[in-house]
Symmetry: C2
Subunit: 361 residues, 2 copies
């Protein structure tokens, strides 16, 4: 049976990447060592982590005045590290667009000395839209404005990055990094857990404009952006194998034609599914059309029992991890870069068949 | 050329583990998914992390009143998390045995509200011995006594765990976990970066007695032992693939006969090298004989130029990562569980040949 993995993360990885990793797992390029066995200070590994950074710089067109860090702890640790490094004694502005934004807000409020203000929210409509942000809403003395560019659970995304004046935008880009046409220059700091569009879980990418690096040390060197930047992510042993897989993913993406090409493919895949939803009498998208995510696409029938039946039958057909998050219900298809178009086509065909069999409601 | 990897970490892994990981990298047990692609909330992955914990419990005979956590950030993040969780408003006692103990002490001092006291140190002799710890030295109101059971750089180890009364012992066991005959009951908390005796870098094992779990929340959920324990290490996405490799290593170790059997092998390997050093007129061990580590074995000629020559010739023969840490100089052989005895025999033979060729000094 062909398996299509719609997981929201950890998620499907490119097959050629997995096959390359498999081929060289025991013996990396004739070294007689696995990448997992290499000292992070060896010249062989140094080339891997440097290549990973360089490839990401190319793919995202990251300017020279930004540092690229490979850290640990996921977006969840960034929720605390960012206010701790950037906003103690200052105001930090947050946009509340869903489950992940809420976690970022809650963590920032728990950092002593940070004055957290939620400047906009779509909680009034269960996070089904992106609230409008205008420059007038922004206190220009704030340390930053935090946004979640794509809400993995709610399935909404910023289509453009708002103009907030000179205040740096800090963005949780975990679920649509390398699947957008944003400009890095429009952000002060971008962070992303790897386990959606980059690689295995256990590595977190942070892209930070150099002038935002803290001057005062943070109590823990591991939580200190300036320390991590000064050590090129090698303050301690980084998650070496996860970074190696990320490098292979970046190579795959570059070979494919880069971010513009994958974005075109991602949009095509998403359109296929949204068209099927819009044409259906049974399925509907719970989110505002203009704010639809292309990477995480929730859909519902409006009938919990029918959703459950769909999910059970889908699973039996090899559609894995389609069940929606409990806060939204229904189904959710995560269509990250490595998710094949054939999988969307198969899902759409299955949805049509299901609708025929289960009639109009 | 046969390569022997003496790296201090990330380090050599068991060949059967790498081969098994390779065989199932693209398709784990017929799931048509890589372990890297699995949702951490899927039943398939749940079995992997539960098995990893259960195997470690068996191998170390961990009592039921201890939690086993798989975290991120390495020992370096634990250096901050431990005082933050256990010692704010209290005294924390530290034993200074070398480079890693010093880092732990420095990080604890930077945590606000922790009264750090170094109760013993071997810095007077460049950390070549383990200082004696007696119960009389221990303030019984202290939150804990921190020791580094094995100093990866200095090459000294606690042969027995000191009696400190009712104060919990907190131990950095990164470089000799699963290579000792300590009793878990003698510790309040044990922590270890995985990249020596457990698996790839990027996962940190914490074994904590339940009564030591903090009651007051820590500002960051990711840094909060109680939160991590309440969520069985799944508060956020854990480093799933690294935990899977750790599980394979634990299976390998269990099949081999468990910790007692590997300890016997480790002692044999170390003895082979120490015997060669002791019999040599050229090489010597810089550390106190009674405190010798069996996992990290530094040795020197006393002549920097000769050390350099040895390292160059050794590297050319396939002995990788033998160069000693700059703070000790000379050579260092890290002989973790997965390091093969043949590698020690080959090194000893090479040392004899080198000594013959380079004469008595």
């Amino acid at each position: 049976m062909t398996v299509y993995n719609f997981s929201a993360g950890p998620a499907v990885l490119p097959k050629p990447v997995l096959e390359k990793a498999q081929a060289e797992l025991v013996n990396y390029q004739g070294s007689e060592m696995s990448v997992m066995e290499m000292s992070h200070r060896s010249s062989l590994y140094d080339q891997i982590i440097k290549d990973a950074e360089q490839l990401l710089r190319e793919l995202m067109a990251i300017p020279d005045n930004y540092k690229v860090l490979f850290l640990q702890g996921g977006a969840s640790l960034q929720f605390s590290m960012i206010p701790l490094n950037l906003a103690v004694g200052k105001k930090a502005l947050y946009v509340n667009t869903g489950a992940w934004a809420k976690k970022a807000i809650s963590a920032a409020k728990a950092v002593a000395g940070v004055d957290v203000e939620v400047i906009a929210s779509s909680e009034d409509q269960n996070f089904t839209y992106i609230p409008e942000i205008t420059k007038e809403m922004i206190d220009q003395d704030a340390a930053y404005v935090h946004i979640t560019t794509n809400e993995t659970i709610g399935g909404i995304a910023f289509q453009t990055i708002p103009d907030v004046g000179d205040v740096p935008i800090v963005a949780d880009m975990s679920s649509n990094i390398l699947a957008n046409d944003y400009n890095v220059e429009d952000f002060g700091l971008i962070y992303a857990g790897a386990q959606k569009n980059i690689g295995p879980s256990g590595v977190t990418v942070v892209i930070i404009r150099e002038d935002l690096l803290n001057e005062e040390p943070i109590f823990s060197p591991m939580l200190d952006f300036a320390v991590q930047a000064a050590n090129d992510s090698l303050y301690n042993t980084p998650p070496t194998y996860a970074i190696y897989i990320a490098k292979l993913v970046f190579e795959w993406l570059k070979e494919l034609g880069g971010t513009q090409e994958i974005l075109k493919q991602d949009r095509d895949k998403a359109q296929l599914l949204y068209d099927a939803i819009d044409a259906s009498q049974l399925f509907k998208s719970p989110v505002n059309q203009a704010d639809r995510s292309i990477t995480n696409i929730p859909f519902i029938t409006g009938d919990e029992a029918l959703d459950k039946k769909f999910n059970q039958e889908a699973l039996a057909q090899g559609f894995q991890n389609l069940k929606g998050h409990r806060s939204v219900g229904g189904m959710r298809a995560s269509l990250y870069n490595a998710f094949p178009k054939e999988g969307v086509e198969a899902l759409v065909a299955f949805m049509k068949k299901f609708e025929e069999e289960n009639g109009e409601r």
